[in-house]
Amino acid sequence: MNVENDIKQLQTIANQIRLDIMKMVYEAKDGHPGPAFSIADLITTLYFKEMKIDPQNPRWEDRDRFILSKGHACPALYSALARKGYFSMDELFGLRKLGSMLQGHPDMNKTPGIDITSGSLGNGLSMAVGMAIAAKYRKKSYYTYVAMGDGEIQEGLVWEAAMCASKYKLNNLIAFVDHNGWQSGGSVHDVSGLLPVLPKWQAFNWDCQVIDGHDFEQIIQAIAQAKKSTDKPSMIILKTIKGKGLSFMENDNSWHKRVPTAEQMEQAITILGGE
């Protein structure tokens, strides 16, 4: 399969995942579609192109790991896992319901394929550092990937972990910031004075790249570049659009947490090419 076809296929899967997200949130009457859409292309690339995983053996000890630190975007991850075959697609519509394997935020013991419990913001990188140190100590070749929101890197623990990752020269750790510019309460800069993001990671001695987080070719190339690192952890800052993929949702922060109407569901089906 050539690169062009590969990317076409990833685009198709990403559209399916976005439509799944809409259906899940619609059915659950609760959830975070905007943040899930923002990270959907990265999750698609990781699960359908990059990661060494075995859906039949979710706890395979040599597998690559992924932590969705911005756990509220989990409908995107759940859809990817179901489509990879970790569990039935029917499970998707149990999201946030009593007794479902799909919790409001990722749970490693309830959902096959979730590598670690996550979702209270600012914690994922720290656990990713632990996984990456364990790989070095146990002489395993797996990679640890972690996706953070640009809002959540306001948490102090992120920077404790960032320092630790560079101290331990974790070139087997590839982190992403989904830099869509929004958080629950407004723009990330207005709320917290966050900007600029890139020099902060550079100052913590990470290998850094800034790419278009909705361009599959750029994501693939950036990960390949990150894997060349010999002695530093890698940060890939994804310039993204919150709600990317549905014009009525893009950059409208009211979709941080919102349930679509029946009419919006129909529009989503039309735009994203589902049935």
Partner: protein
Amino acid sequence: MVEYKGTREAFTQAITELAAENEQVVFVSADSLKAMRATSFAEKYPDRYIEVGIAEQNSVGVSAGLASAGLMPFVGTYAGFITMRACEQVRTFVAYPHLNVKLVGINGGIFSGEREGVTHQFFEDLAIMRAMPDVTILVPADAHQMYHAVKAAALIDGPVYIRAGSGREHIVYEADTPFEVGKIRVLKKYGNDVALFANGFILNRAVEAARILNESNIKVTLVDVPTLKPLDESGIQAILADCKAAVTVEDHNVIGGLGDAISMTSTKYCPVFMERVGLQDVFPSSGGPEEVLDRYGISIQDIVNAVKNVYKMKRGI
């Protein structure tokens, strides 16, 4: 005869032996290597000593990641920095996912925090840990019991919190007395006038109080409660039913610790008159280890008085 300077040295001895048997055992430090007296471990196993710096939340988060990848991390630092500063990391990323992380908190109690003052005296750790589902809580009474508690913790598949001291601990137990997780231990049965429950590094005071009371003809059953969770409810119930009056002694705030645990069991199975000896819900201050206990309500006399009081209540006087 094995001799340790204190619980921290006993910890290091135990984890060093565990590491020799099990390559999954690693030690995670938040610039607490010296405080934990674990330098010899780091020298012997440099690739199993993970130093995150003064960053306790990260020490627990990293440990969760290590455990998820099949290792058995022991995080050791000040009790309050684990249970308060890194409380959420312990609760959500260790306890909730049931990861095999062992948490060892030093300076447990005002006796251990002593001259450092309130910032380093930790008397809420056990209450905080008790409130989290699925964590085993061990409160050894001396260095010998600490050694066995660390060894016992390694046999438990899941999160364990072990309270340690700062080198002031009096020896109460023989070196080879095992630490039996989930069991109370009757240390001395003078009689059944009052049940005297204690744990931690003030157990020696309870021993002495029981002896003094015996001389004034009040016969207590002295019980160590080294596992605060899961609590030995049936063992405690039997003691309460026998004595029908109880005093608890703990180096902890009287809210949330041993007193609460015994009280819960008592109200459920066997209501009796009770009194709690411990820090009486106030902030203490700096001072010598024995002095602060005496000043803040945990003197031998306080224990004696509490036992006399409940004994009077029991007899309806």
